[in-house]
Symmetry: C2
Subunit: 527 residues, 2 copies
């Protein structure tokens, strides 16, 4: 059922000579399917089709785009257990996770369907003419958001559904009216192919133009590079490593016509445990954090990889409790041998730094690709002096930093790189007592959490998944939630444009019944 | 009254050894004031002060920021005729323009004051908790826009008030809660110094922190480069040349922490004259365009430098009429000898291209720095084959392109670089007849105009001043209108944060009375 071919619009294609397999990390064996890496001709054709499709797709009404997105969700569900099995085979993730993530992915598609069907999201704004204004007449100007053009989406390793082929980047770009070319993730190319068939079937069934979606297989840098540098591509969505995202970002900035790249990259997600949390609820937070660190074998962007506290007996007791719980957790299999090797290397590199001590470790033998979680501890001074200790280790790994006092704690937070999340554990009054720490943390993150854990990214309008570099390449946008659509649009103004020729969102009669800014005030009235 | 010093926060400073004068293009002589270029120590101090000021300024309530912005406008007006005289001396622009532009600048400051006083602009969004949701509880998440940090603003040559020291970039960044460091434009450093005193007096009188504003003199690339590369700077606003803006954009992308650069750069602002416009209203449009091309001696970003039509007797007649009117216009003095020299070089370069013919020219002698307007004509084929002809010549210059047919017209529009504006002259039904041309134009511009001229940028919520590269470096934002504030902010989410510690915009009681997204729906209610 898996062909190993790319989809150039509606056509399956496998012209290139380079081939690869995906891998089952659980059985430590290659999967049977042979994938063909897209060649230059296929890349070119996918972009040309996307360009042509854009001419039609950008003008398709919200209701029809909504039907397309909902049909993708339905078709994805229609792939049933076959899809779930391939997902598990290519990721080592359990069935519950596969089904949960499929549900989330379908939920995202339907959320964007609701958004574009309702229509307010285009931020329509109308300033009517004042012909007799002195000294010069005021002209009629109206604006709304328009799609940028073809978008390239790089699937992520850790979300084969929710941030890959039909994931949040694809759903938001299609919702905006942008054709999407997916650079399929080589670790789950089979899952990607199946999801791509669902998208293409939905596109055909709902009358979308050929080229609105393509799925290119690739196990090298070449395909991604060629896509990001192609003049026909107008934006990029990426979820992955700091090195990968930064390289694409710089490549896009060096183009003759630079284009926006939204890369959601690394984060250690600092958790600041204030004294009361450790003194009164140390065991509770140890349990919560042990679960959060090992959730999905630590393979979440929001895994808490850094815990900051004040040097004290209660911090020591908390560390021991957290270590004990981590040691008791069943080690899990990682997504891929490469990810497992990187985890092992990163863990050992940080453990080898002077001044670190191991609080908890798994030393017994484990099957191949199974991650042995580890917890380190280090003094604040040592941490501050050694940037290597600030690096993310992707997997079930965390460091506890013992700061000497509140001033050092604030300095540590201040010195951190940009993060997706920052968490404070404590009592309400401590937010005031440690306001310097809290303010510094706010400056470094996209999402602040009080008395919770950073894993578990709620998909809702108020979510921010992004943050100061290197958490993401543009902190002004989020990758999760309805506002993720804003990455793929630009405002276009129409001056003195005839009513009949305006897009529906800007017509006098307000045929879409949307909320608009009318001479500066919100209104859903016609003019 | 002009000291030639920079302002590092509230302190005047002139430590650097490099000095320069501004120039009066009308009298063709140097102005008397001696300006000191800021040195590295002064740059460092300005950024450090801005960083410190940000800690306070970002939390100052909207009402207080509004008072600050309005007081800047008042103080600027309070500088009275002295300011107008210095503006005229440094730009060669007439008194009416000086006063009009001052009024626009004050209007912009007050517009942003109204915006932040009202408060809706922070896009507050609240998703309340559902503790008993299955399978996992929903947490309380709220988000709003927060300022990025210190912003560097590069003053423009052609708007000494409206897009310089206290111009749109500065006003929008201060409104957002970002301290501003202005790299003063060397052509009008005296005007800049006076306006800076108005900003600093307003800052002191309204209790803003020292460092919320600095004004650095500079006549070289060094100061701008040092500012854009400084880790304490979090964003850049620029109005000027494609070469300058692109260089800053790439410099910012190469930083260890890349930062956003919004550069509003070049544009030839194509005007498509459809047959009926030429046949029925040729003389009217010739007059309108002659005025638009020479307005402000052609020194507007939106000057129509390219007119496209179908080869026909009516296009020929229109060209002759426009040429005649341009020839009768009194040539005007340009902003600076350098700008005049660039105009002359650009005009001659394009005129020397094979296949161009001169329709109108001023050949009689003119005083120094006075621009002799010129109109060229060229065939569509020649234009398509020669990218040099697509370049902007900053000043009173335009080219008429005669396309063979509608298909060639569409190809020409399709091949254009990104533009601030695109204009269609014609009848309503022609928008349908030439829908390919119109769609191609929409794809290339930030603002579409029907039966008007591109000059005259209305400052209102629906304005888009920006466009696909190289019109600007990020087409997703506008430099004019209230939404210009969005360039300097990022969303921050608060998860399970105690109500008392939330920013006012997100508190249950909605103490600011603003409109918020409450569980997905607009509401100004408390919770």
């Amino acid at each position: 059922m898996i062909s190993g071919q790319s989809f150039i619009g509606n056509s399956a294609s496998a012209q290139g000579p380079i081939t690869f397999h995906t891998f089952n990390p659980k059985t430590n064996t290659e999967n049977p399917w042979l994938f063909h890496e897209a060649n230059d001709e296929e890349i070119e054709k996918a972009v040309q089709l996307a360009r042509e499709a854009f001419q039609v797709f950008q003008n398709i009404p919200g209701k029809k785009k909504a039907l397309f997105l909902r049909t993708i969700a339905d078709e994805m569900e229609g792939l049933g257990d076959d899809l779930i099995q391939v997902y598990m085979t290519e990721s080592g993730l359990p069935e519950g996770r596969a089904k949960g993530e499929r549900g989330r992915t379908m939920g995202q598609l339907r959320m964007f369907a609701d958004l574009v069907e309702q229509g307010d999201w285009v931020e329509a704004s109308i300033d009517t003419a004042i012909p007799d204004r002195s000294p010069i007449p005021k002209v009629d100007i109206r604006k709304m958001l328009h799609p940028l053009g073809p978008i390239v989406v790089f699937g992520s390793s850790n979300f084969p559904f929710a941030y890959s082929t039909a994931g949040g980047d694809t759903a938001s770009a299609l919702a905006a009216g942008c054709p999407v070319i997916v650079k399929s993730h080589p670790m789950h190319a089979g899952t990607g192919e199946l999801v791509a068939t669902a998208i293409l079937k939905a596109a055909k069934d709902t009358g979308m133009p050929n080229g609105v979606f393509s799925n290119l297989n690739s196990n090298s840098y070449h395909v991604g590079k060629a896509l990001v540098q192609h003049p026909g591509v107008k934006g990029v969505g990426f979820t992955g490593s700091i090195a990968g995202g930064t390289a694409l970002f710089k490549m896009a900035a060096e183009r003759e016509e630079p284009i926006p790249v939204f890369a959601e990259m690394g984060s250690v997600n600092p958790v600041v445990a204030l004294p009361s949390a450790l003194e009164k609820n140390g065991d509770h937070w140890a349990e919560q954090l042990a679960n959060s660190i090992t959730l999905g074998v630590g393979q979440f962007c929001t895994c808490p990889g850094l815990i900051l506290g004040l040097k004290s007996p209660s911090l020591e007791a908390f560390a021991q409790a957290l270590g004990k719980l981590l040691g008791e957790k069943e080690p899990g299999v990682m997504l891929h041998p490469n990810i497992y090797q990187n985890f092992k290397k990163g863990k050992e590199k940080l453990s080898a730094q002077t001044g670190t001590s191991v609080v908890a470790d798994i030393t017994e033998d484990v099957p191949p690709n199974v991650a042995q979680q580890r917890l380190l501890m280090v003094d604040g001074d040592t941490f501050l002096a050694n940037p290597t200790l600030h690096q993310e280790v992707f997997g079930p790994f965390s460091i506890i930093v013992q700061a000497d006092d509140a001033a050092e704690l604030e300095t540590i937070v201040h010195e951190l790189e940009g993060q997706l999340t920052g968490t404070i554990l404590g009592e309400e009054k401590e937010l005031k007592d440690y306001s310097g720490v809290v303010e510094s943390l706010k400056d470094r993150v996209g999402r602040l959490i009080f008395n919770g854990v950073p894993t578990g990214v709620e998909v809702c309008p108020s979510m921010v998944h992004g943050g100061p570099f290197p958490a993401s390449t543009d902190s002004r946008f989020t990758a999760v939630g309805i506002h993720a659509i804003k990455r793929w649009v630009r405002p276009v103004a129409y001056q003195s444009w005839p009513d009949t020729e305006l897009p529906d969102a800007l017509k006098n009669g307000n045929p879409l019944g949307i909320s608009r800014l009318l001479n500066g005030d919100s209104s859903d009235k016609s003019i």
